[in-house]
């Protein structure tokens, strides 16, 4: 008779490696690594099957702190490396960790293509709107006017909005959360993990050394309720301390507006309901910026389709069915050959 030994439950600490974490004290990355470890424990993910692949930057140190497989690669190229790893072994559960420079500057091209191909990986962007590791230059997500060592008079190039970029690239899962929001972030990570295909999660991350407080206007506890909107599929897009603010679509301009329920004749029915399969709505929500708008956090868009890795292996399977492999000697003799007889 078989005795079933209960599988030992892995705790968050079991997903932490024995390496000393070397981020600056107070860096938002600490909160993110904790969230990821907690999420993995909640899902009881097999460490040997989990792989963290990163580029270069502060964020990219992430794999060293996980007791899983990890590959700390080169600046910007993590999505390309992860694509190869996933195609070579689709069974692996792959997380890609990127900074904003990593993901959207040097690696923008690879991010675009991993998303449009829909490779089944989780792509986490730690967006601190600054180059942390190289000591504080402005990044492609830095707001106009950002003063940094390389932009002493303030940055003059318009930033890229990460979620809108991802949607434009054809991403089929786009979410946003905040490093310190330990209630919300694990939920997003779980959703991203459950999604088959490329799941893009923008995690707002505070760089305490080079860009401290860049987001505090809407992430601080006191401000959050009135300046964030948590979007949930099927639920009304309402926010505010009293839950009386909401988003309404102006059909004339195809744009969102913030309204207060009970004011100017606005009723509950005027408020939009979130539909995470609506790409247009996701674009509108992702574009909202503080302070004109509340910043949207949650799953902005989720609409799965066949993944690239599945399609690649489907084609291989079809080939195998149509033209089964021969031994290699036969392979070399396919097509036109001739024999030179001895003598």
């Amino acid at each position: 008779m078989n005795v079933q030994t209960p599988v030992e439950q892995l705790k968050p600490a079991d997903y932490a490696s024995d390496q000393e974490v070397r981020w600056c004290p107070g860096c938002g990355d600490y909160a993110i690594v904790k969230s990821v470890q907690r999420t993995m424990a909640e899902l009881q993910l097999a460490p040997e099957n989990s792989v963290f692949i990163s580029g270069i930057g502060c964020a990219a140190r992430f794999p060293y702190y996980m007791a899983t497989y990890g590959f700390h690669t080169i600046h910007g190229r993590a999505p390309a490396i992860a694509t190869g790893t996933k195609l070579a072994n689709p069974e692996l559960d792959i997380w890609v960790v990127m900074g904003d420079g990593d993901c959207l500057s040097i690696g923008g091209n690879h991010t675009l293509h991993a998303l449009r191909r829909n490779v089944d990986i989780q792509m986490l962007l730690f967006n601190n709107e600054i180059y942390g590791l190289t000591k504080g230059q402005y990044s492609p997500t830095s707001r106009l006017g950002t003063r940094s060592p390389s932009t002493p008079q303030g940055s003059i190039d318009a930033p890229v909005n990460a979620t809108v970029f991802a949607l434009g690239a054809g991403a089929r899962f786009v979410a946003r959360s905040v490093d310190t929001n330990q209630k919300h972030l694990p939920v997003m990570l779980k959703r991203a993990h459950a999604h088959r295909g490329a799941s893009f999660v923008e995690i707002i991350q505070n760089c305490i050394v080079y860009n401290d407080g860049a987001f505090s206007g809407w992430t601080d506890k006191a401000a959050a309720a009135d300046s964030q909107i948590q979007v949930e599929h099927g639920k009304k897009l309402v926010f505010g301390k009293d839950g009386d603010k909401g988003l309404r679509l102006d059909p004339a301009t195809l744009s969102l507006e913030v309204v207060t329920i009970g004011e100017n004749g606005i009723g509950e029915d005027d408020i939009l309901v979130h539909d995470e399969t609506n790409r247009l709505l996701a674009n509108l929500l992702g574009s909202m910026e503080h302070p004109e708008f509340p910043v949207a956090i949650g799953v902005l868009y989720c609409d799965p389709a066949e993944t690239y890795d599945a399609a690649v292996h489907r084609q291989i399977g079809e080939t195998l069915e149509k033209t089964p492999p021969t031994d290699l000697n036969t392979m070399l003799r396919r097509g036109r050959t001739w024999t030179v007889a001895p003598g």
């Binding site: 099957n49 390309a80 190869g84 031994d327 030179v340």
Partner: protein
């Protein structure tokens, strides 16, 4: 229904003059189908048992304006009743489908050579476009040649009349008419071409198939019915006396593809190929994309960086990652290659070299990426470099590259070039079972694991793949501790790791064959040292010089890095060393650096392979002059 040709005996073999070797060059507009004509002629020639070598030479423009010199596409074949190694120095016969083709190629035809001309294309407009001041058919330009002037277009149209193809489709058959004529002239079997036409068009467009076959037969019949002016004999080129065995025609690209597949099988792991299209490397991506049933995954990446990175990611997961490009693309891959070098992951980088720098001469051949392969990386990052020397050798060189990569956990560069990639040669198909296995032992759960534990003999680190319980670990580009595999910024450790990585690559010299002499004595007056696709030309030049009683040897280096252990000693045995290269002098630098030998260069940077006669002259010149 397959068409079977029945040749009515005519002309009679007795009227054919027997020659030992012939060089034919087909030249025409890019749209004239010259590559196809050449390839079909090659197939029949191979099947008829001649030894052969080919040289396809096409323009960089896909559809250059009709009738221009830069739109001329050519295909040269040298076939013989004996062992030949090059596509031939100069054509005995030039088939020129238009004035531009004549303009570009006439200078290569020796006086007395035969030129077959498609007179229809010699209109005033075309003649002017080609840059002739007057009609070369009339102004005496061709006085020193044997010309065969035929209105091929008219003949072709007549031959396909009634088949029901459009005029445009009919005109496109004229390459088949020319092929038919050449098949008659050199007694080639047309059946392989007929089979090919039917396979290609038979089902989809039976009329087109019919028209092509009709044109082919008409060209043949034209020769047979002796419509040719007198003085143009028909030839016969007897079979070559070659090693018994099963043969096929192979290009370097096909051979690399099969070699990579075979290498992966010998290692017992899947093959992952990530690439981004570039001439002349793209054909490898196409080839491997059709071999998916043999454990191959191909990936057309968004750029060369992603291509090499995807291959590295696949190697991390336990495949042999392979990427391929030519010089400009390999330059983009450099950072990725050093990542694989630092993380000590296997990787094969195939570089089909082309004329450079920058976009250079995309469709022409060159050997100018040797520096890039040997030296062209930041930091101390030596890599094994293997250079294949013939189309057939590409098969074994690719297997060797995979073997070194997985045995030593290192990126390996495999150099081929545009000539090897495209040129076809008859290839005695090897028995794959004769190639030894080098099966991979992935690390499995053990107490002592860390990713940089090394094999004492090879110094290769152990390879544990994600998915293996108990061996979770992190690798990356930051320096790692020799002792623990964790990140280390320790100064002594970096010194030690740099030395170990170099020693690992150096040690490969003990695992490759000693350098052999390809022809001639192992000591003497002059050694000609080559590498890569110049093998055939150098070998033939040295063989001929030896036959003329000269004291010269041919040494061809296949392992460019590390070099064979005995090479220095071997070189010391010759008074003079000549290094012909299709670049401005690269291997020569390595040889001088490693062995302090007074090597002299012979450099041809024209985008074209060496001529045997030029090499012979250089050998003679060196032997007659004082160093």
């Amino acid at each position: 229904m397959a068409t079977k040709l029945v040749d009515t005996p005519s002309g009679g073999e007795s009227q054919r003059e027997s020659v030992d070797s012939v060089v034919i060059r087909f030249a025409g507009d890019s749209g004239d189908g010259m590559q196809l004509t050449g390839t079909q002629f090659t197939q029949s020639t191979a099947l008829m048992g001649n030894d052969l070598a080919t040289f396809p030479d096409f323009p960089a423009e896909i559809r250059a304006p009709v009738g221009t010199t830069y739109g001329v596409s050519a295909f040269q074949i040298n076939f013989a009743s004996y062992d030949i190694m090059t596509p031939g120095d100069a054509p005995d016969v030039l088939v020129a489908m238009n004035p531009a083709a004549l303009k570009v190629h006439l200078r290569d035809v020796p006086k007395g050579g035969t030129i077959v001309l498609n007179t229809d294309a010699f209109t005033n407009r075309n003649i002017a476009k080609a840059g002739f001041e007057a009609n070369p058919l009339e102004d005496g330009t061709l006085d020193n040649y044997v010309t065969v002037e035929i209105d091929i277009q008219k003949m072709t149209l007549a031959s396909v009349a009634g088949i029901g193809v459009t005029n445009k489709e009919a005109v496109r058959c004229k390459n088949m008419w020319a092929l038919g004529l050449m098949c008659w002239m050199y007694d080639r079997d047309r059946q392989p071409t007929v089979d090919w036409i039917e396979q290609r068009f038979g089902k989809r467009a039976p009329e087109i198939a019919k028209a092509n076959i009709a044109a082919l037969n008409a060209g043949h019949a034209y020769g047979e019915t002796a419509e040719l002016p007198s003085g143009i004999p028909a030839y016969i080129v007897p079979k070559a006396d070659v090693q018994p065995g099963v043969y096929r025609a192979v290009t370097g690209t096909e051979a690399v593809a099969w070699g990579l597949v075979t290498g992966a099988h010998k290692a017992g792991i899947p093959l992952f190929f990530g690439s981004y299209p570039i001439t002349p490397a793209s054909a490898l991506l196409h080839n491997l994309s059709n071999l998916k049933q043999y454990g191959v995954t191909t990936f057309q990446a968004e750029d060369e960086i992603a291509a090499v990175c995807s291959a590295i990611g696949a190697s991390f997961a336990g495949s042999i990652g392979v990427t391929s490009s030519s010089g400009p693309g390999v330059a983009l891959k450099t950072e990725g290659i050093t990542l694989a070098f630092a993380a000590e992951l296997p990787l094969v980088i195939v570089n089909s070299q082309r004329g450079g720098p920058s976009t250079g001469l995309p469709t022409k051949t060159e050997q100018s990426d040797l520096y890039q392969a040997v030296y062209g990386r930041n930091a101390d990052s030596p890599l094994p470099v293997v250079a294949s020397c013939t189309a057939g050798d590409c098969f074994f060189a690719a297997i060797e590259a995979v073997r070194l990569a997985v045995t030593y956990m290192t990126p390996v560069i495999l150099l081929t070039d545009g000539y090897l990639a495209n040129a076809a040669e008859p290839w005695e198909i090897p028995d794959v079972d004769d190639v030894a296995d080098f099966k991979i032992d992935f690390a499995a759960g053990s107490e002592e694991f860390h990713p940089f534990l090394r094999d004492e003999k090879t110094l290769a680190r152990n390879w544990a793949v994600p998915g293996t319980p108990g061996l979770m670990h992190r690798i990356g580009g930051i320096e790692k501790s020799y002792d623990t595999g964790h990140i280390s910024y320790d100064p002594e450790n970096h010194h030690r790791m740099t030395k170990v990585r170099a020693a690992k690559v150096d040690g490969i010299a003990d695992d490759i064959p000693l350098q052999e002499v390809a022809a001639g004595p192992s000591t003497g007056k002059l050694a000609v040292i080559g590498w890569g696709s110049t093998f055939g030309a150098i070998n033939q030049a040295v063989e001929r010089s030896l036959a003329a009683g000269l004291d010269v040897a041919h040494i061809h280096i296949r392992h460019i890095w590390p070099l064979p252990r005995n090479l220095g000693e071997l070189l010391a045995g010759y008074d003079r060393i000549l290094v012909p290269e299709m670049n401005n002098g690269q291997l020569i630098t390595v040889l001088r650096d490693r062995f302090l030998v007074p090597a002299e260069g012979l450099n041809q940077i024209s985008g074209l392979p060496f001529k045997v006669s030029d090499l012979e002259a250089a050998i003679r010149e060196r032997l007659e002059s004082q160093p």
